[in-house]
């Protein structure tokens, strides 16, 4: 929570600056002045560490999180062992071992797939896609009929997706057919991140890391300030380099 307040405080300071600037339209702030102002903003090391830990945990970098915990003494807000499990599920989907992924999710928490029909359907759909990818036509048809058709009966939009998926079977050259994107790696990644998010939610954890939101706020604040002043701006987020205003 304290992180949030820091950002708000920063925003408030920028706002205050903006107010000051409003009188003289588009004031130019030199790099020197700007850096001095930034130096006055205090950010606690612990808060920075928590942000980093939140990112590592949410994204599933379990070894890095473990090392970071030992080095910085920052406690993760979730049991690190659960990250390993979550990553194993994610990896299984990414490699196309969907059945394995489903079993792993069910071991983790049977409620996840029992109470989330959409996710369950997407996993089953991914299973079907993998069968088709591997040329197991007969098995694919049987699976679609046995496992997926009943879901389609329960839900119209599932039925549409199912029809789209089964359409893959109708084409000789699937890479060139209208529904070919289902076979893309991106489809696996999409399914994998849906599972990842569901597991995080089931563990009472936010499904997105906080760092990207902070960066979004930074960009928003800069855009606000742009209307009123020229100042050293961060354009490249990865380097966070202050670039002199082009006046």
């Amino acid at each position: 929570m304290s992180l949030f307040w820091i950002v708000i405080r920063q925003l408030a300071e920028i706002e205050a600056m903006t107010d000051l600037l409003q009188a003289m339209s588009k004031k130019v702030i030199t790099r020197e002045e700007w850096e001095k102002k930034l130096n006055d903003v205090k950010i606690r090391k612990e808060d920075m560490n928590k942000l980093v830990m939140n990112f590592l945990v949410t994204e599933g970098y379990v070894e890095a999180a473990e090392k970071f915990r030992m080095e910085s003494g920052t406690e993760p807000d979730i049991d690190l062992a659960t990250i390993t499990d979550r990553m194993a599920v994610k990896k299984a989907v990414q490699c196309g071992n969907v059945e394995d992924a489903i079993e792993k999710v069910n071991d983790l928490n049977p409620e996840i797939l029992d109470t989330n029909p959409q996710l369950f359907f997407h996993l089953q759909q991914q299973r079907l896609i993998e069968l088709i990818r591997n040329g197991k036509v007969e098995e694919a048809l049987e699976f679609a009929q046995e496992e997926l058709a009943p879901r389609g009966e329960e839900n119209q939009s599932f039925l549409e997706e199912l029809e789209r998926t089964v359409a893959l079977l109708a084409f000789e050259d699937v890479s060139n057919c209208p529904v070919g994107e289902l076979l893309d790696m991106s489809q696996r990644l999409k399914t994998a991140s849906e599972v990842n998010a569901a597991i995080l939610t089931s563990q009472s954890h936010e499904k997105d890391p906080k760092l990207p939101s902070l960066l979004k706020m930074l960009i928003w604040a800069q855009n606000q300030l742009d209307k009123k002043a020229a100042y050293p701006r961060i354009n490249d987020l990865s380097t966070a380099k202050l670039e002199d205003p082009s006046v």
Binding site: N106, D114, Q118
Partner: protein
């Protein structure tokens, strides 16, 4: 295994084998079979039902029982415990037959015992499975008044394990219904614990919100305790939660605030929360899945019967938004039902709302929904039709009396679902009020025939509602229409409906007669047909009138008859004074002393018509009324608190002065 399920399909044979393997003596085989079953049924309703039919639930339950007893000595048993508990929990998730089977298999006590295990995984599995059970209506009711039970519940809420906390909250949500239960929970500190959870993890928060709703519902005492907690801190927390990231949390927080608003509007006044709640809920409609489905129902519970909130919803553009959703393709039945209900509630009181909805294209979708496969959707569509057809303006314009709207509604009169039949009847009741011009179309489409058939139904609500529709149809109708109704119904059925055992049916039957004979003198003859069978039935029912409403409608029938000539008036006199030789006073004397001013008004009107100076035989009738003590009763009423009664009484006494003493 002897197959009781024959012929076995290719899919069910492996399932049968799996169930058989549950009773293997080899623990590894057992474990493998359990895991297979579990992974097949999770998320898969059809598979659950298949395995339940194969008797898998008692088999899994007995694995749990055996493994539980052995769990202390070996690790593989504890694996069996976790897997079997998880499988049973999944059987109970979302499938009633599963819940019943798990309860019948005696698994509940074992789940409870799992909660005190030292192995966290075992505890989790027990708590999750019990939680699933308590999410179902079929779960046994938890008795909070027993001290042991309360202690157990408190131990669940105070546990360090969030799944166990969730179970505690789930039990409250499931079993807390009466105000006594709400009070005992509150007295034992449950309310404070739930407030604590509002600041806990996502799962604690959501579970707490649901329980808070059931602990506060319709309970002033508990709700005010919550609202006043630490100067409004709990309430502020709740308001904050309406803008949480998690849409589920937002929805539950809104629902909780609505419960508070419904207990007393004062708690949320002046905070502008009401408009915000409506906007939040409209926003949540966009969500896929359960949250979006429930949002419209929550909105309905908020605006139902509250005109001010319906206006706020209108101002928040709710009708446009709901209609946009209504026109989307592939709507799930529950979502469609919710949207139709919300529209029905918004349009239930305010003409502006109806005027907005009716010309919209989405109104066609409401009409289409009358033919939907799902009964709940059909019923909701009927309710929507009923609300919009309250528009007098559109009724006058004959907007609803067309084949496109009426024919599907008539079809629903034969719907296999009672709630749909009733909802269709109520919509038709409004539509047939239609002012005269098109009532004949309704007769031509066979509407009267169907309504008359339903008036003979075994179900009293169907009888009274179909009579209600007939009553509205005959309101201000021409003779041809009345003739149609009367001819179809016949005097003898009408008489037996007046004598129905159920007061609401009696009331509607009498009201129907009242409308039938209103207007022209010809129609008064209906009550004299077949040896005055109908008029007699009216008189008999009035003598034992069980409710003021029945009395009132009956008196208006007499009033309409008494507006006729001498014969008619004398016939009414006979009914008024029937059996007075035996009993002490005629029924009209009791009616005149009723607390219900509507009944007094109706009764006084009868006497007004009987004592009209211009009609022959007036002095004889006045004489009889005096002898029966009715005139002296009226003299006591010259200062009746009801203005209408007071004026009519004075009219009668004026007429009495002129003729009575002569």
């Amino acid at each position: 295994m002897p197959s009781s399920v024959s012929p076995a399909t290719s899919a069910s044979r492996p399932s049968t084998d799996l169930v058989a393997r549950l009773s293997s003596s080899d623990l590894q085989v057992q474990l493998k079979a359990l895991r297979d079953i579990k992974n097949q049924i999770i998320g898969n309703r059809t598979k659950k039902l298949t395995f339940i039919k194969l008797g898998a639930v008692p088999a899994v339950a007995s694995v749990l029982a055996d493994a539980f007893d052995a769990a202390s000595c070996c690790a593989s048993s504890s694996d069996l415990v976790v897997q079997s508990a998880a499988a049973l929990g999944s059987f109970a998730c979302g499938v009633d037959a599963g819940v019943r089977a798990v309860i019948d298999a005696g698994a509940l006590p074992y789940f409870v015992r799992l909660l005190s295990s030292s192995d966290e995984k075992v505890v989790d599995s027990g708590a999750r499975s019990l939680k699933m059970i308590y999410q179902s209506k079929l779960a046994p009711k938890y008795d909070f008044s027993e001290k042991v039970n309360m202690d157990f519940l408190l131990s669940l809420l105070n546990s360090e394990n969030e799944n166990v906390n969730g179970l505690g909250a789930g039990i409250i949500t499931h079993s807390c219904e009466t105000s006594a239960e709400q009070k005992v929970l509150c007295d034992n500190g449950v309310l404070l614990k739930l407030i604590d959870f509002l600041e806990g993890s996502i799962s604690q928060r959501d579970a707490s919100l649901e329980s808070l709703a059931s602990v506060m519902k319709d309970n002033t005492e508990v709700t005010s305790k919550f609202v006043e907690y630490e100067g409004g801190r709990a309430l502020n927390l709740l308001v904050k939660l309406t803008s949480e990231r998690s849409t589920r949390t937002r929805l539950l927080a809104c629902a909780c605030l609505i419960i508070i608003r419904n207990v007393s509007p004062g708690y949320l006044k002046g905070k502008g929360i009401e408009t915000k709640l409506i906007c939040y809920l409209l926003e949540l409609l966009e969500e896929p899945g359960q949250v979006g489905d429930e949002a419209s129902f929550t909105l309905s519970s908020f605006i139902e019967d509250k005109e001010d909130l319906q206006k706020l919803a209108f101002d928040a553009n709710a009708i446009d938004l709901l209609c946009t959703h209504l026109q989307k393709d592939l709507l799930q039945p529950q979502r469609l039902e919710g949207i139709l209900l919300a529209l029905a509630h918004i349009c239930s009181r305010l003409e502006v709302c109806r005027a907005k909805l009716l010309p919209m294209q989405a109104f066609d979708s409401v009409n289409d929904a009358l033919r939907h496969d799902c009964a709940d959707v059909r019923a909701a569509a009927c309710m929507c039709m009923r609300s919009v057809s309250r528009s007098v303006q559109n009724l006058s314009a004959g907007f609803f009396m067309n084949e496109k709207i009426v024919l599907p509604l008539l079809q629903l009169l034969h719907d296999p679902t009672l709630s749909v039949q009733l909802a269709a009847l109520r919509a038709i009741s409004n539509i047939v009020v239609d002012f005269r011009t098109r009532k004949s179309s309704f007769v031509r489409w066979g509407g009267v025939k169907q309504l008359v058939q339903l008036s003979m139904s075994m179900n009293p609500s169907i009888r009274s509602n179909s009579l209600w529709a007939l009553k509205n149809l005959t309101f201000d109708a021409d003779n041809k229409c009345k003739e149609g109704v009367y001819g179809e119904l016949t005097a003898s059925s009408l008489a037996s409906l007046i004598g129905d055992p159920e007061p609401p049916v009696q009331e509607q039957a009498l009201a129907l007669v009242r409308n039938l004979i209103d207007g022209s003198l010809d129609s008064v003859q209906y009550v004299f047909a077949e040896d005055s069978i109908v008029l007699d039935a009216v008189g008999r029912q009035l003598q034992r009138a069980s409710t003021a409403e029945v009395g009132m409608q009956g008196m208006y029938v007499l009033c309409n008859v008494a507006s006729g000539g001498e014969v008619h008036k004398d016939a009414v006199m006979d009914q008024l004074l029937r059996d007075t030789k035996n009993s002490s006073s005629p029924f009209i004397t009791q009616f005149l002393q009723s607390n219900d001013s509507r009944l007094r008004t109706a009764s006084v009107w009868v006497v007004v018509n009987l004592t009209t100076p211009s009609c022959r035989g007036v002095s004889s009738r006045i004489g009889k009324l005096r002898n029966a003590g009715i005139i002296s009763q009226l003299k006591n009423m010259v200062n009746d608190p009801c203005l209408d009664v007071k004026l009519r009484v004075r009219t009668i006494l004026g007429q009495y002065m002129t003729f009575g003493d002569s």
